[in-house]
Symmetry: C2
Subunit: 190 residues, 2 copies
């Protein structure tokens, strides 16, 4: 039982849902730390139906095919959720680029960093907004959201403590003094 499939079983505890629904639910609730694609959902649903973990109920409007938990599915989920979760898997291409920074032309790395910083800033804003809107339905979701905030905050703080040499760009040109007219591109001021 893989975690993606198990998560679908978890969502089905709320009631019958179609593949389409499950994609939406997954994206909204666990998408930030456990990406799930349409392809996977339909594949896992088919596999789990074959295993008797879910059952397609009466078809709805359009081509809607709502699935519901079977007793076997319920217990498969219960078994899965009690197992100790594995370590997190991280793959961070930006750090890879950073590691090979010596092979990058001047300013290029600074550009990469600036782009990613912007991205993380946006994500933090999104999480904060969700927090303030009270979007989390329970303490568990709230804790997961808090993780997002903690993570993005840490990433931003990390960006901001990087030496100017890496973020300020222009190769040997470090620390253009108070007159910052030199670099129009990505090494944006914060």
């Amino acid at each position: 039982m893989n975690a993606t499939a198990a998560s679908l079983l978890g969502f089905l505890h709320r009631g019958p849902a179609s593949g389409w629904d499950l994609v939406a639910t997954a994206q909204a609730t666990i998408g930030d730390f456990w990406p799930v694609t349409r392809s996977q959902v339909y594949r896992e649903l088919a596999a789990m139906e074959a295993q008797g973990l879910v059952r397609a109920g009466p078809p709805g409007r359009r081509d809607r095919r709502p699935y519901q938990l079977t007793r076997a599915g319920r217990s498969a989920f219960a078994r899965w959720v009690r197992e100790p979760p594995g370590p997190e898997q991280i793959r961070f291409p930006l750090l890879l680029a950073l590691s090979f920074g010596r092979h990058l032309p001047p300013g290029r790395l600074a550009g990469f960093l600036a782009e990613h910083r912007t991205e993380h800033e946006a994500r933090l804003a999104r999480y904060r907004a969700a927090q303030e809107a009270g979007a989390a339905p329970d303490d568990y979701a709230a804790a997961a959201l808090a993780f997002g905030v903690a993570y993005e905050s840490a990433v931003l703080a990390w960006f901001d403590q990087l030496p100017d040499r890496l973020t300020g760009g222009g190769g040997q040109a470090r620390r253009a003094s108070s007159t910052e007219t030199r670099r129009p591109s990505a090494g944006a001021p914060r």
Copy 2:
């Protein structure tokens, strides 16, 4: 050109190396944010040799097969490293378990959290030790290491701000506080 293969090309800039060497180098330098397995290394080396990006030099002791960069390999790497790095991929089973916390028996989630916290504590200690030992050969590696410290610190801080209801749970609570006699209701809220 995938990032794993490209990284191997990157390492080969330091001089010829065997698959074995490259596994060790990769684990030591990028392993924390870009895991690389033996299997991948040998496969990618074979593939890159077929593409003319690397060439096996004269065999060494034992069955050692040192590879070196070709000019094509050098330029393939140069092309790769200039491309904007993609977004980080994170998969965090603990957060998944947390999200489904309502389906966990009391105390179980607390146990998971405690185990992971210990793990992250150890990693932070390792990174801090590496920093203090001056293990980073250059500013780039130092920045990557700093990321590790920032990340692990944030994770620990997150653990420590979780509501008692989640961490204080039933069974194997870490950090048993002075009032650990009450029956916790970890699985109960809403």
